[in-house]
Structures are given as C-alpha cells and as structure tokens.
Amino acid sequence: MSEVLNIEKIGQITDNAISEISKSVSKDEISNLRVKYLGRKGIIPALLRSIRDVDVVDRKIFGQELNVLKNNLEELFEEKINQNKEDLYLSDKEKSLQDISLPGRKKNVGTLHPTSRVVREICDAFLPMGFQVVEGPEIELDKYNFELLNIPKDHPSRDMFDTFWVDWKNDQGEYPLLMRTHTSPMQARVMETTEPPVRVLVPGKVFRYEATDASHEWHFFQVEGLAVDRGITFADLKGTVYEFARTIFGSDRKIRFRCDYFPFVEPGVDVSIDCFICEGNGCRVCGKTGWIEIMGAGMVHPKVLSSVGYDPEIYSGFAFGMGVERIAMLKYGIEDIRLFYSNDLRFLKQF
C-alpha cells in the first residue's frame, strides 16, 4: 500500500521544491529538478497517480492542492529560467565554450603562387592603359629569340643571353630551337601577325643557362611590354612606366632612366625606382645607391620594325621587360629566389 497522502506531506514537498529550485544554478540543475518533480516519473505525477488511493471525500481537495502545487512549480521553473536566462540557459558544455580566446576553426585557405600573383599585379597595372595579355611558346626558334631582334648569329650581344639549346636538328643539320631566354620573341611574333596599333603584355617563363644562387635562377618569369603605333615616343614610354611603378610600388615613387644597351631597342635604357625601403637614403636592398633597377626598356629598333614588315618611317614604338621574381622579392622581402620553385608549402601558403 502506498503511503497515505496528507496535507503536511504536500507542504513539505512544496518547501523542499522551492528551496531546491532557488538554490539551483545551472540549466542542467534546473532541468534535473524539473524531471525530479514534474517529469513523467517525477514526484508530483506520482502523487497525482496515487490520488485514487485517497479517501473519496478528500480526493477533490488533494487533487486541487496538487494541481496548484504543480502549477506553482511550473511557474517557479519558468521564472527561474527567465530570471537568469543569460547564465542558466547554457549547458555546461556551452558554458565551457564561452571563451572567446578559443582559436577560430581554421579553413583551408587557397593561395596563388607568388609569381602568378605578381604577374597579375603587373598586368593589372598595364591593362587600364590599353595593353592586352598574350603568351608565346617557351621553346622558341633562334629566329624569333635572336635574329629578328637584331641579335645575329655570332654576335657578342648573344653573350647577354646564356642559352639552353634544344637537342633537335633540322634538315640543314642546325639546332634552330632553344628555350626562350626572354619574352621578347613575342614582340616579333605579335608584329608579324598584327597590323599596328599594337599594345601587348607578354608574361611567361624564360630560361638562362646560369648557375643558381640566392639571386639567380635558371628558370624565371618575365613580363614584356610592347606598344607600336604612329607617333609613339620615348616620352610615352616614360609616362607608361611611371604609371606602372606608382601602381605597383606606391604613388610617391620617383623614377630614373639610365642609358643601357639591348640590341632590339635604340635608345635603350634601364629603369630604376627610388628605394621604397630606405626612401632613397641607401640601404642593403638598393645597394646603398637609393635606386632599385626594375626593368629594361627602350624605343623599338628600326631594324626590328622593318624585319617584321613595319615601316619605321611611319611607325615607332617602345618595349620594356622586367623580371617577375625580382619585383616579388622586392615587394615581399624575399631574399632567396630559389624559394619560388622549390614549392615548399610553408613558403607558398604565405601569399
């Protein structure tokens, strides 16, 4: 026989419940208490079930009392939760996550190769000036890499371009193919197939037969530029290169042109910017000169124009070429060019 219900008992349960609820702190405690008192197998429903054992006369009163108690407890739980929502509503697990110093979940972040990135930056700087990107073959004919660029066979200016030759003989027993030593062959290829005006950029891999060290690779990238039309002058070259340098290296860059020699341009120059690291005062990067060489440039040699069928009396143009890794090294402070193509992800993932 179950325990006989009486009013004192209900009062006792009420006191206990109120005290326990008021002492409860966490969401878990509250929900445990709720289960204890109001759950399917909890104290109140058990009492309600046992009401049939109570004397018929008292049933009604007990029933009312129990229902009142049940409602009161419901309210208390509700109140407790509302009162302390910010605190109590969280589970222990959730509370342990309330620590903003926990690290964010890392994402797999994709990265462009620094060379691709800088090629893009260079191209983006020239595109608004009407240049378009074209690419050319990496294995070239002697004709395009040298001869059409005013670098005849057995000419000492070939010493400027240490060449990898392709082991492939033509019918005359010559080796006419090489790994292009610069992106300049596309000057001839573009002009041969296009009528002026021409305004192109040529990014791409080039190759030099030279020993590698921290500042030399046998395999690197260049971006070539060529603009040919009626009336293009050295002043236009200056403006174009100046705009480029300011876009890439900052709007307060100064620029310097000094005489240099490339067989396919006349006049030929070497372009430097004032050192953006030491502001021209002289540091290790600029070799204490305050100037950093960034490209070779010049007015397209009349011989090159005529060799591709342009009349140098009518058309003129300028060309420029720069090493991509050099620009990347300057921009990102990379000190060893060999990092670019050793493909260590610890390096690549930084860009």
């Binding site: 994402k107 994709g110 019918d171 705009e243 042109f257 005489c259 009349p302």
Partner: protein
Amino acid sequence: MKIPISWLKKYIAFEQEPQNLADHLTMVGLEVEKIDNVGLNWAKDKVVIGEISSIDVHPNAERLRLPTVLLGGISVKVVCGADNLYVGQKIAFAHEGAELLSNRSKKIEVLKSATIRGVESSGMVCSEFELGLSEYSEGILELPPDAPIGMPLIDYLGDNILDIDVTPNRPDCLSVLGVAHEVAALTGGVVSFPNNNYDESDTSIESRIKVKIEDSEKCSRYMLSLIDNINIAESPKWLQDILIKSDVRPINNIVDITNFVMLEYGQPLHAFDFDKIQGGQIIVRSAKAKEFITTLDNQKRNLEPYMVVICDSESPIALGGIMGGDKCEVDGNTKSIVLESANFNQTFIRKTSSELKLRTEASYRFERGLRPELTQHALFRATSLIKEICGGQVAKGFVDIKLEEFISKNVMLSSNDISRVLGVEIDPLEIESILNSLGFSIENKFVDGKKYRFSVIPPYWRSDISIPEDLVEEVARIRGYENIPTKMISSSIPSGNKYSIFNFKESIRDLLVSIGMNETISYNLTNLNDLDKSGFLDKDIPAFKVLNPMSLEQEYFRNSLRPSIFNTLSNNRLLIEKEGVKIFEIGKVFFASNGEEGNFMPSEKEYLVGVLQGKKNIDSWNTVQEEMDFFDAKGIIEHLFFKLNLDLDFFESIDNMFENELSANIICQNDVVGVLGEVNNQIKKNFDLDPSPLLFFEINLEKLNSLSKDKFKKYIPFNIYPGAYRDISLVVDKNIQVGDINKLILQNKLVSESSLVDLYFGKGIPEDKKSVMFSLVFESGKGTLTSNQIEKSLNQMIKKIERKFGAYLRSSKD
C-alpha cells in the same frame, strides 16, 4: 674593364670625386659596378715612403736584417725578413698603428711594435701583400728611385680603379681613351692624346718584309712596323703598375707595351720575333683543311677553313685576331720585332674563338667590331713606346695593306628625328655641342629656326653609330633622360581578345584557390628517372631533351606535369599528417608532334594537374577529421566546370596510374579533356609518397579553352509555383551505378532536382545490395501540383526504376 683613375687623368682633367664620376658614367651607359680603392687603409701619417740608408745584421738571427730607414727628418731602425733589401732602395714604410693585411690572419690588423729575437722593431718595411696591392708576399715592395722620401704612400700609389661593365655595343670603352671621351662629354673637358712620334732609321721596312692579304673579307686592314736592336727586359715600374691595376700580368717590355696600347686605344696588337719569320713575308689567309697551329698557351689547335691565320712562307705563325703562335714568339733573345696592328672581321673572330673555346682580350675586342682606322693610331703609339722603352731603331715607314681607303660614313640627324623618337624638341646648338663633346664632327648643317638637319661624322673610335636613332641616343644620354617629358600614349586602343588562354588560366587559378587549393610552379625540365617513375617514359610520345643541360636532374623536357606535382607532393609529405595537401599546377608539357614536312617537331601544350591527399580539414579542436577521397576530387572538377559553364560527364578511365575502380575520364562535349582518379600504390612508392588515398586530376587546358568559347551562362527563371519535396529510399544491387538511377529519375518531367542524400550498406540490407536515398523536388510551370499528381508521377518513376534496375523501395521489405 678596369680603369685606374690616376691613369684616366693622364688623358682628361677632371675634379669629380671617384664616386661622383662613377655615378655620372653609370647614367650615360658605362655602368661602374664597383670602385676598388687602392690604399684605402693607408693613413697619411702611418704609411710613408722611405729610403734604406744602411743595413745591419741581426745579432741573434741569420735570416733577419736590421735596415735603417730614412723618412725625411727622422730615421728608424727595424727588423726585416725580406732578402731583396739594398742600401739606397726606396720602400714603403709603416709606422706603429698602421693598418696592414696580416700575413698570418689574411685580415687587416693594426701594427704594433714588437721585439723580434731580442731586437725591438717599431714599424716595418711592407710587402705588396701587406699593403693590399697583390697576393705577392715574398720580399718587400720596391718603389722607383725618384719616389719622394717622406711622402704619404697614398699620395704616391693610392688610386681608385673603376670596374666598368661595358655593354657589347661599346668596344671603344674597352680602352682608357674611350672612357676619357665619355668623361670629356660629361665634364666639358678636352681629351689629350698620347705622343705617337718617333724617329725612323734609313732602312725601309718594305725591303725587309712583304705582306699579302688573301682573304680581305676576314681581314680588312693589316699594318706592320719593324724595330731592330731592341732590348728585351722587364717593363718600367709605371707601366707594370698600370697593367697590374688593369688586371693584366706583366711579362716583358715588348708584350707589356702591346697590352698597354690595347688598353689605351682598344686596338689589339701583336709582336712577332722578326728573325723567326721565314721567307721575309707575311700572308693573311683562311686556314687550310687539316692545318693546325700551336698557340702561345702551348695548345695545338686544329683549324677550320673559316678561321683566319697569319703565315710566313711556310706555316701559320698566329691565329689572326686571337692569339699568336709559338713559332715566332718574342723571347729573351729577340733582337728585332715586327709589330702587327690589324683589323679582323668580328663574325669570323667570334666563330673561331667560340669553336676553339679560346677567348682572349684581343678576340673580345675584335668580335665587338673595331673600326679599321684605329690600327694606325695604335701602331704609331706602340712603336713610339717601344723605341722609348726598349731602345733600338725603327725601320723607315710602315706596311699598310687594305682593300680600299676607309671613308667615314655620314649619319643624318634632323630635328624631326629628335622629336619623333624622344617626343621633345632640342635646340640645334645643344645637339651640336653634345655631339662635338663626344668627338663627332658636323660636316654639314642646315638650320632654320627650330628645324635643322645635320650631317654627322662619328669619330674613328666609335663603331656603333650608323642610323639617326644612334645619334638620338647619344644626345639623350648625355643630356639626361630626366630632361624628357612624361606623357601618355594618345592613340587609339587596339581591340582585344577575351578568349585568350591567359584569361582562361587566370579563371581556373581563382576557382581552385577559392576552394582552398594552393598553386605550385615547377621546372620545365626533368629527368628520365622521374618520367619513368610516373609511367611516362615508354609512351608513344618520345621525350626530347636539352642539348646542353646544366645537370642530369634537369635534362629532359617534361611530357607530363605528373612527375612535377608528385615531386612537389613528396617534398611536402610532412604536412599530410597535419592538415592535408591540396595543390595544383598549371604549366606546359612538351612533346614531339608532326611538323610541316612530316618530320617531328617539338611542341608544347598547357595543362592543369591537381592532387589531394590527407585530411579534409586542418586539425582543430572539436572537429571530426576525415581523409579526402575520390569524391572530394570529383566535387572540385564539378565545381570548376559549373563555374566555367561547361558541360561535364565522367566515363571509366583506363589510365594505369589509377586504382582500377576509382578512375574516370573527364568528358566535355563528348571529348575527353582529362582524367580523375585515385593514384595506385606503385606510383606512391615510386615518389616516396604517403600511403593514404591520393587523388589526382589532369586537364588539357587548350582543349578545354577551345570548348569554352562563346559560351555564356543563361539565366533560368524561377518557378513561381511552389515545389513539393519527396524522399525515396531504394535498395539495389551493389553494382548498379547511382548516376544511372539519377539520370532515369531526371527523365521525369515533373522532377526539377534530384540529389543523393544517403548511401548505406550493412545491417538491414542484404549483403549484395545497397540502399540509396534521393531527395526530389516536384514542380511544374503550369501550377501547383496536387498530391495526387505527385503520387502518380512518383509511382510511375518507382516502377520504372524497379523494372530497369531490379530495385525495390526500402520500406516495402523492411
């Protein structure tokens, strides 16, 4: 080219500090790479000139001596170990506190007084090494007898040597006079030419030696002088000093003078021992078949018919323009010499020296192209120096064989040329002044206000001026490029090509990077071993190679990007444990293809490869980790093609690089454009890769780009009527392809979407079966579908699937 400033000043006066001069020269095209300071550490009060007044014997050491050195006013007695001391000798003396190179440490050290074998020595007599002049440390440096006692050594011997990187177009600047002309243009100074005069004897040279040029294409001018009764000896100190500072080793006075004049004028010279020349004649001709010569470096050289040789009546005595032969070498017994000053064709010289791998100071200059007018100036200068230094008598006259008189070609320069090239107008007076300062003369001029036209004659030492643009550069570089305005191209912008492969590759890079892949770039050259390891050696496409590889590691052109990406993966295999590797490379592969006349020609194509291996996510707290599998790779390809708006299908692949089951050809517009699959264990072993699943994809980008042209994405309007969602769960044989079921589902006109949401094997499913669950969207453009319409359509579809694939609804037999 090394140019000692002290020597340069003998030809042109200037005040600039060495660094300032170097900066100016660099701006006009003579790049000064560095300035060597001779005597940088010689403090004026510490290192001075002295004279040895007496020499005493060291009381305790036989090999040591005790010279007393006069230093003007004072004299000092020190200990010295050198054995070339003598009384009256002028030497360099270092006081205590001087900074000298130490013989022991090879570093700069401060001299301290020391007691050597019981005798105190405060200061020392210096060797060339200690002064930093040369590597020579035996014996002390001996100064000329007229060296002033007490003078600081730096004022007497100190110098700054410009190291100039001369571009190939300026052989004139491979000489001190050439550089002096540049300095003259920069400073407004005037170049003083050296003395070329000498007395001649009565005997005429013509009676002594005859010269004939047989091949004037290879030698346009040949000059000789003849000097008798010379005295072969060491050169005077001043001459040796200049040679040493210019990086030329002194040999004897005759050879030294020919070298000196070459450095002075840029014209190579050669002296023959006259008495060794057979038959009293010199013939300049092409080499004969099987002919050879032993050159001065003691090498026997086999000659080719394009090479030019200098011969006597019997045999070659010199390889023209490159090196003399041993047959007529000047030696200690030589009494009479003939001195050659000739002009050889640059192309043949270069071809010969390249073929024989014999590069000399002479060939270096000739191959850059010298003016034939230069020969006489150098010949007279050298003859005059020989007479002065080596004594003897110069035979009357000189030999001068040439095909024709050399007439300087005029080059025209107009105001139009200047503005056409530079985009600025320059005053005719300024043009004239710049050209004159460089040694050009204006033969004719027409000036009308701002318009002008000059007929310009380049000086005899300049071989690089032939067109108006060359003169424009002369004016621009001396005037300074900073004085040219900065403009922008004003003409119209050429039309573009938006389908360039470059743009296509850029899109692909962005897409792959956006889903967390890292781009790599590797070398185009590889080796047989790597090609073999990736299974690309014995393909139908023959690999070809570089004629002159730098190493055997990089000898063959890659005919696939596979070895590149596997090597990259292998280099990063430590990362696979930690965070997984997802990398790609876009690059060229090379193979032989049919050329125009059916012969094989190397050819190149643009490819994309990618690999995925290891964990899907970077390790983080409270994250469930999974390894990437085939479907991660497939998802990337699907993403790529969706974004590029290309249709995509997969067929089974037969590429033997993959595990059989998990590989597919990537199909676009019924064309195979690439492959995708899980790489087999053999390849993983070959490249020393991690054993976990390795996913690979490869796409021919040129093919894909050609398929992507003119494809614009079309917008599909939304259905305005709401769709209804239904899931169906089917049980089918394991070997039924999910893709086939999906295709069948999508044939239903009311189904707008179908996606696989669950794939299950195991408990509750027969062993040879799998359970697949699709989530479907039913909709129609005509109106909202009723549940009847949907149920009817769904039942038809299920029946079709049951019939075609032997499937049944999972719930029906549960």
